[in-house]
Every structure is written in C-alpha cells, then in structure tokens.
C-alpha cells in the first residue's frame, strides 16, 4: 500500500510526500475523511493531488493513501435515469445517505449493488469471442436494451454463460483468454475516464441528427457523430437550446453534463424529463437520459473530471451500437476549473490565465465523438455526437475558450443577445453561424425528405443575407427609398424569421417540428413570396400585399399539430392565391 503524508494544502490542491511509488493519475484518498483525489503531478517523492471534495479541515501530516487505480467509471445497467456528480457518485443515493446537502467523504457505489437485473445470454458456450462481442443483454429501460460486451483487449473462448437474475457484480460467465487466463464476466465493467474507449474504425458522418429545431435542421444541421458548439452571452438561451436538443434529438441515448452550471437547471431536467414523452418511442424521456451534475457550487476539481465521466459513459453505449449525444453545459466552466488548478500548480499561464494546454485538452474531448464501427465481430455501428455550450465572458467570442473550440468543432450555433432581447428564440444568429456538414448531409435530405431540400434551405440563407444588406440601406435612407420588389423581399425575410425560424420551446406543437413539416412550412413562406412578387409585378400595391389577412394564418402555421398540417397548409396556400388574385383584380380595375 502506498501511503504518504500531506505537506501542503492550498484550496483543492494538496501536496503529499512519500508518494514515489504511486502512478500519475492514480486516485488517492486524502485525510481521515477519505476525500477523493487524483495525482496530477509528481516531483521526486512529492505528488500534487487535485482533490474532488472541499478540503477545509485538512492539514499537514494527514495521511494520503493511493488506490493504485486511475479515475474510472463503472459501466453497466443502472446508468440510465440516474444522476451523478462529476466523479460518478449517484446523487439520489447520496441524498438518502446524507440529506439535502452534499457532505464530505461519502462513499456510495455508482451502480446500485442491491438491484437485480434479468440477463439473457445470446452467446453460446464454447463460442470464440473477440473484444467487444456481445454475450447477452439486459432490458435496462423500456427503450434501451443494454448489451453486455466483452471488455476491450480480451478475446477467447466462452467457457461458461448463463441467463438469469443477477446483481451487477455477480459472475454471469467465464472466458478463457488467448493467454490462458480466465476472465470472469459480470454485468459491469470499469474504464478509466481519461482514456478513450477503443473502436474498430472511424467513419465519416453522413446522417443528420434530427433535432426538430427548425433553424438547426434546416440551416445549420449537425450529423450523427458530429461536433457542435453553442456560444452565447448570458440570457441568450444557451441552456434552453441545450435542453431542447436533449429532449428532441433522434438519438438512442443522451448524456447531459451540467458542468459548473446552476443547480436549479439540473433539478429542472430531473423533474421535467420523466414527464416528457419521446416523440419516437412514446416513452418517458428519462428512459434514455443519463445526467451528470457538477453544479457551480460543487468542488471545482470534480468539475474538471465531469466531462470525461460523461463522455466515457456515452462511449460505452456507443460501443453497443447506439447513437448517443453528449451535451455539455458549459465547457467554459470546465476550462475555468482547468485554469484554477493550473494557477495553483503555479504553471506559466497562456492567454487570460488559461493554461497553454487548453486547446489540446478541448480537442481531445471533442475528438472522442464520431461515427464508428464498434469492436466486435458483428461490426455494428455506433455514433457519438458532442455538443458543448460555451459561455464567453461578456459575449465576446474572441476569448480563448470559444476560439479554441471553434477550431475543432464543425458546427457553430452563435447565440445573439440582440435577438434574445427581441425574444427571437432560439436566438441563433443566422448570419454568423455555420455548419460544415451541410454538403455531406445533402444526399440524405434529398433522398429522405425532398429533392429540393438543399435548394430551399439555400434560398433561406440567401434571403436572410439579402435582408441584412437591405436593412443597411433602410437605416440610411428609409424604407420608402426601396423599390417595390425590395420591400417585398424585406417582408418575406421578416416572415421567414418570425414564422419559420422563431420557435417556442415551451409550446406543445411548436417545440418540436418534424422534417417534412419544416419543409412544408418553408415552402409556405416562399410560396407566398413568389406569388406576391407576381402580384406586385401585375400591379398590386406592396403595402396591401403585406397586410393581407392570410399572413396571420401563415404566422400561426407553425403551431398547427402534425396530424393536420398537410391539410391546413394546403388551405392556406389556396387562400394566398385567392386573396392575391382579388388584389390584382382590384388594381387592374383601377387602371
């Protein structure tokens, strides 16, 4: 047993001597209360330890014991619907032990040791298995079948396997490994969080992750296995966007990491998700959600670990062949935790006090996303998409964390305070946001939704771009100076913004929009624009065209329920034609 003595305590950083034989990144227990810490530096026999719990009450001479294992998570049935802190301690179970506040040194296993799961074996005794092969499954929730896999780096002959009811730690089978050792299989495996779980092959992402958010799906789509970031100043609706993605994305599982954010936000997810229905499975959303909550008042070192804990759990489900989304809110707080530890270690700071390795750490995190062929002889495919919120100070995206993130991720949803003040939500700025997946996803959209999907969404972007140019002119010389056609373009752009891009996350039928309905709604806006242009060309007055009563119906079209939309939209189109025709006739009669 490696045991050292504390020499120095400075906030979450503890230095202990007598640790020459400990490994870097091993977990240690600090002091009488056995606080959890991790070795992050070694100098001779002195180890620098970041402690994941509040260090008040620790002093010189207190004992440090190494567990001789790196920081790991427990992977097995029972993860879903659970809420964990940054180092995978189950918060519900901790509440039972210690009450409403988090006290120090609580030791509760991540996976409930008393719960019994029914395991169904699918592999035959005597089968030759390689790493990642599925030996059976547990029905973890109504929507997720939890596949029990051979851990990485372990192939051999399955000498024993049985179905039945087991605890997570019980032996369900044995494998004679290629080197002759016997491996006991249980429902649970452990994996160090700072190491990416291996896969067979990485693939380019070609399928969109459908979010039901119109501005995202239509203009700035993200691929399954892709990466995206959502930077925005406070009050611009970052968290609502993140929650919407967690609710409606068409993935099998969501890992939501609340990293240094508000406690009430996590409570909101925890209370609301069980009530919400997944539109695809009609089951509770909680049945596909894992929550990691290290709120801003919880110890800062555990915040640093929380995003690794989250993504490791996500990788584990990806390895089963699922499509998983990791949503991290917010990576800026993670970077701040990094900065704080770096400052305590007295490292030479980079920009704004952040450590020089900020970019490489961020890149390592996002690079764990991707569409992959998993380990295992069935070559199943899984995808892991990573979406990170960024909270730039003062909303200024030139700061280091945003810039480092933008160099890595492929999709940028830039939130805009001005839009938020106008209550245009989601406040994603259409002029500076981008998605590098658009081209790659275009075959999918053309085939599955509509041939001209890309063309139509391209027209949206173009219209909005023209609008911003025209707005400049209007600011200088007034709207009267514009030609009739330009004024109509402005009206169409306004309609696109208000009737299509704006989406109310809190209203039932508007909160999520299916792709075909998105397409129809976009078409509706452009259809009006086209017909109105023709009408104006034939003599109708622009002001009267803009004031047509049917436009109010277009404005309400987004909240028409999915079942009725086709019928209703057709009726609106007819009304557009009729009302414009009346205007044209009136105009021509005057002439």
């Amino acid at each position: 047993m490696i045991e050292g003595k504390i020499l120095k305590v400075s906030g979450p950083l503890v230095i202990a001597e007598g640790m020459r034989h400990a490994n870097m990144f091993d977990v240690v227990r600090v002091g009488e209360k056995r606080l959890i810490g991790e070795i992050i530096e070694m100098h001779g026999d002195r180890a620098s330890i970041q402690v994941y719990e509040e260090t008040a009450g620790i002093g010189r001479g207190d004992i440090v014991v190494s567990t001789e294992a790196p920081l790991s998570v427990e992977l097995g049935p029972g993860l879903i619907t659970n809420i964990y802190d940054g180092i995978q301690r189950p918060l519900e179970a901790m509440r039972m032990v210690s009450g409403a506040n988090i006290t120090k040194g609580i030791d509760v296993p991540a996976l409930d040791r008393d719960r019994v799961w029914h395991f169904t074996a699918t592999a035959e005794k005597g089968a030759k298995l390689s790493a990642g092969d599925v030996v059976g499954y547990v029905e973890e929730t109504d929507v997720i079948r939890h596949k029990i896999m051979l851990p990485p780096k372990s192939g051999g002959i399955l000498t024993e396997i049985r179905s039945g009811d087991f605890h997570v730690t019980d032996t369900i089978g044995r494998v004679r490994l290629d080197n002759g050792d016997i491996l006991c299989l249980s429902l649970m495996q452990k994996w160090p969080v700072r190491v990416a779980r291996p896969y067979a092959e990485k693939l380019p992402p070609v399928e969109p992750m459908i979010t039901g958010q119109r501005v995202i799906d239509a203009l700035f789509p993200i691929a399954k296995g892709g990466t995206a970031c959502v930077p925005g100043p406070f009050g611009s609706g970052k968290t609502v966007v993140q929650h919407q993605l967690a609710k409606w994305s068409d993935v099998d599982l969501v890992v939501y990491i609340g990293c240094g954010e508000r406690g009430n936000e996590m409570t909101d997810v925890l209370r609301e998700f069980p009530e919400l229905r997944d539109p695809r499975t009609d089951k509770s959303l909680m049945e596909r959600t894992v929550l990691i909550a290290n709120t801003s008042d919880m110890p800062v070192a555990a915040r640093e670990a929380s995003i690794y804990t989250g993504i490791t759990i996500a990788e584990y489900y990806r390895d089963m062949g699922y499509s998983v989304a990791v949503i991290a809110d917010s990576t800026s707080r993670w970077a701040e935790a990094l900065r704080e530890m770096s400052g305590r270690l007295e490292e030479m700071p980079g920009e704004e006090g952040y450590p020089a390795y900020l970019t490489s750490r961020l890149a390592q995190f996002y690079e764990r996303a991707g569409k992959v062929i998993c380990l295992g002889s069935d070559r199943r495919q899984g995808a892991l998409s990573a979406i990170g919120a960024v909270s730039p100070q003062g909303g200024d995206i030139s700061e280091p964390v945003t810039q480092a993130t933008l160099r890595i991720v492929k999709v940028f949803w830039g939130l805009d305070a001005q839009l938020a003040y106008r209550r245009h939500f989601p406040a994603i700025n259409w002029l500076n946001s981008y998605s590098l997946y658009r081209d790659r996803l275009s075959p999918w959209f053309s085939e599955k939704i509509a041939k001209d999907w890309m063309e139509l969404t391209g027209r949206c972007m173009k219209l909005l771009q023209i609008e911003s140019e025209l707005e400049e002119v209007v600011k200088l010389v007034g709207v009267d100076a514009l030609s009739a056609e330009d004024r109509l373009t402005l009206e169409a752009a306004r309609s696109l913004r208000e009737d299509f891009l704006q989406q109310n996350a809190f209203e039932g039928d508007d909160s999520y929009t299916q792709l075909d309905k998105q397409y129809a709604l976009m078409s509706l806006v452009f259809d009006f624009y086209e017909q109105a242009r023709r009408a104006v060309a034939e003599g109708a007055d622009v002001q009267k065209v803009s004031d047509l009563p049917v436009r109010e119906r277009i404005g309400r079209a987004k909240s028409i329920p999915y079942a009725e939309y086709a019928h209703e939209y057709a009726a609106i189109r007819r009304a557009v034609g009729e009302q414009l025709q009346t205007l044209i006739s009136a105009a021509q009669a005057e002439m």
Binding site: L7, G59, A100, R339, G353
Partner: protein, 457 residues
C-alpha cells in the same frame, strides 16, 4: 490545550505568515492577540509544511511580529445562530453591534455552507407578487430564485430593492416571512435608508441585518455575505421561514476578493479579478433555493453596480451566468423620470415560465408577456430609425409601434416606488397598451385568449 504561537514572520496587506505551526488545518479560524489585548481574527489560506498563510479579516494595524500571539481554534469560521437573530444588527463578522442582550446560540454553523445536492432541490415555481409591473408582468420572480439587480452609480437600486422587500408576497399564503439584509461596503446613508425603510413598515422585527460599511475593514466583506447567507439558511431550512436575502453591493465584495488575490500574487483572470471569481460567486448565489425536507426557501436579490454601466464587466457578467436572470436599471429611463427605471429588454427572469400561467397568475400571462417584449423591441427599433430619418420615413405600422413603445414606457414601466399593482392590474394594463396595435399583430397570443381579453370600447 490550545497552543499559542509567537512566530509571525510576515504581515503584508491582508496576509500574514506564521511559522513553526503544528496541526493546523486548511480553512481554520485563528485569533491574533495584540500586545494591547485586542483580538483580531484570521483564516487559514494555505498550509505549507509548518508555515501557515492566513488572511486577516480586520486591519493589520498594530500587529507586532515579536509580541502578537496567534491561536487556532480547530474549526472554521462559524456563525452562532438562533431564531432570536430576527430584529438584530450584526457586523460583517457576525458579532452583535446593536448593544442589545447577547444571543444564546442554538447552533454554530460553518459560514461556508455545503453545496445543495441538485437531486434534493425543488424547482422554484411559486409566483411572488412584487407589485412592480416590469417584474411581475415581464420578469416574474419566484420563491427560491436568485435575481440580481444590475445598477450603475447614481441609479435608485436601493429604492427598488426596498420596494420589493416592502411589497413582495405570495398570494393566498401567510407563511412565516423574514428578510436578511447584508450591507457589504456601502455608505452609512445607504444602509440607513434600508434600515429606516424597514422600521417604517415594521419589517425590522422580521429582519436580520449584517452591516459592513464603507469605513469597515474591506477584508471583512469576504465574510459578510456568507454570514448573512448562513443566517438565511438557518431561518429557511431549520425554522421553515421564507427568507428574502438582499445583498448590496456585490461589486465591493468582488473587490475585496481581488485584494486578497493580488496580495497572494495569483495569476489574475480578466481585469485583475481572480480566475476563481465565478466559482466563488457561485458558492454565494447557489445557496438560494428550496430543498427537500424543509418548508422554507431562500430568495436572493443581490445588488451590484456595474462599473461604467458596462454589462460585460467581469462582475455583472459572471453574476449573470450564475443567477437566474437579472433586472437591469437604465440611465435613460431614469433621466426620463420613469421609476423604477428598469431596462426591460435585457432584463430577464429565467424561472418565470414555470411560475406563471393559469392557476399561478393568469392564463394570458405568457402570451402577453412575449407580445409586449417583441412589440416594445420593434417600437424601440422604429424610434431609433425615426431619430435618423424622421417620422415620415417610417411605415404606418412602424409608426404605430413607436407610439406603442412610448406609451409602454410612460405607463407600464413608470409607476413609482410606492405604487403596488396586483398582477391582474399589470396584465390588464398590458392588454390596454397592446390594443394600440392592430389585432392581427398579436402573433404570440393564442386567438381564443385575444377574444377573451382584448379590451372592448
């Protein structure tokens, strides 16, 4: 036996180094006895071998390296708590300064508190009626929320905070209510304003005051809000009271923090504030809320003055990222004489959605709120355009919106610090103003609600 050390090596600014110390723990409370018998307090910031770096809570004047004695108490900084605290006045270190009888504590509580388990929180959703239209109607406050006021020097944030303290109530409930007020480095006059307002309304008997004035040691400001919040937690979670905490001014707190950080020669983040300012502020703000196993709640209204009215300054910026919204005061409204001068567009309450609607306020609340916001935003834009191009350049619709914006400021925003509007009055006023615009513009309100509430005359 408590050891006494006469081994002070260094005193520099708020920091002091003591050598040859044994058995001292991180974050422990210490006492320094001066040669003249005075006792000062300090807190352990770093243990490094047998050297201990402490932070003084009071001035270092009079500390003598050769003769001063240091004792360590074996525990952290604590507040002796009791329900008798109500109606009493304390200094920033939690010592009673009103000359009244000594309080016999029921409990001694560590002022740092412990984080609330997110799984044990209740989501705040009980509507608090403040009687102020811009808050109730547009940025609704709920029980357990932390909603700061971002002000600037010279703006009447104190009047607004006092108005909220005076008028706030949860309708249809008469549960136990208390105010905890923490003055952090403010002037005597400002503190006196609050105290006399509490006295005038009789609220003083239900108020606990923690006073650190501008003349008191700056370092004490680090502990003042923690003392206040510890008292609030005690009243809320052990005595089941609904506590409103007002802390003013957070900017002074952050500056005290910067002073200690600079003295420690830490690598600064933005504008010289320490890199951990976010985390540090969060450990204050996150103590608001409601939790399982207790009836009480802590609703927090921190006040901060934005240096140069700059919302991107680290203090308001980081506060905005932690709190559940913000009420921003506007110099423009103040100059126009509209009180309380709330800058409506950038103000926000994040928890409003679950605190409003049928059964809580009224079914039309959400729709009219969004409509008022977007109408006012468009009206403001139209008015800006009007400044550049003249009224004639506006479309007829934009002219209507400009008129709406003017009326909205004069009637909705403007009320006075002593007018107490019910939520129904606020909502009806909203409808009356909206009716300046044509009905077809009400895209954010459900048609059936427009039919029901649209003013008829």
């Amino acid at each position: 036996m408590i050891k006494e050390y006469k081994t002070i090596e260094e005193v520099a600014g708020p920091l002091m180094l003591v050598r040859q110390v044994d058995g001292v723990k991180y974050d422990e409370l210490g006492e320094i006895e001066l040669p003249n018998g005075d006792v000062r307090r300090c807190r352990v910031l770093e243990v490094n071998g047998r050297n201990v770096l402490v932070q003084l809570f009071e001035s270092s004047a009079g500390i003598n390296l050769a003769q001063s004695k240091v004792r360590f108490s074996g525990h952290g900084v604590e507040l002796p708590a009791s329900p008798d605290m109500l109606g009493r006045v304390f200094n920033g270190m939690g010592e009673c300064i009103d000359g009244g009888v000594r309080i016999i504590p029921e409990k001694s509580l560590d002022i740092n508190g412990t984080p609330i388990n997110p799984a044990a929180r209740y989501y705040p959703s009980e509507f608090i009626q403040t009687g102020i239209s811009t808050i109730d109607g547009l940025n609704t406050l709920v029980r357990g929320q932390k909603l700061p006021i971002f002000s600037g020097s010279g703006l009447p944030h104190a009047d607004l905070a006092a108005q909220i303290a005076r008028q706030a109530k949860v309708r249809g409930s008469d549960s136990k209510f208390a105010v905890v007020f923490a003055a952090v480095g403010i002037t005597f006059e400002e503190a006196d304003f609050f105290i006399s307002d509490f006295k005038k309304t009789g609220a003083i008997d239900r108020t606990v005051l923690f006073i650190n004035l501008a003349s008191d040691p700056a370092i004490e400001r680090i502990s003042t809000p923690r003392m206040a919040l510890t008292a609030a937690e005690y009243l809320a979670f052990e005595c089941d009271m609904h506590v409103l905490v007002i802390i003013t001014d957070i900017t002074n707190y952050a500056e005290a923090l910067r002073e200690v950080s600079a003295a420690r020669k830490e690598v600064p983040g933005r504008r010289g504030y320490p890199g951990y300012l976010y985390t540090d502020l969060a450990t204050l703000y996150e103590r608001a809320g409601r939790k399982m196993g207790s009836e009480g709640s802590i609703t927090m209204i921190p006040i901060l003055t934005m240096p140069e009215d700059d919302k991107t300054h680290p203090i308001p910026d980081l506060t905005g990222y932690i709190t559940e919204g913000q009420i921003i005061l506007s110099r423009e409204m103040y100059r126009k004489g509209y009180m309380p001068p709330v800058d409506v567009l950038p103000s926000l309450s994040r928890l409003k959605d679950k605190g409003i609607g049928a059964g809580k306020t009224r079914e039309d609340h959400a729709g009219t709120m969004n409509q008022l916001f977007s109408g006012y935003a468009r009206g403001r834009e139209a008015k800006e355009l009007m400044v550049v191009l003249g009224e004639a350049a506006l479309s007829p619709m934009d002219r209507l919106y400009a008129r709406f914006a003017d009326a909205f400021e004069a009637e909705y925003i403007n009320q006075s610090f002593y007018e107490n509007r019910t939520i129904e009055e606020t909502l009806d006023l909203g409808w009356r103003l909206l009716s300046i615009l044509p009905k077809s513009e009400m895209k954010r309100i459900k048609p059936e609600l427009i039919e029901k509430y649209w003013p008829r005359d």
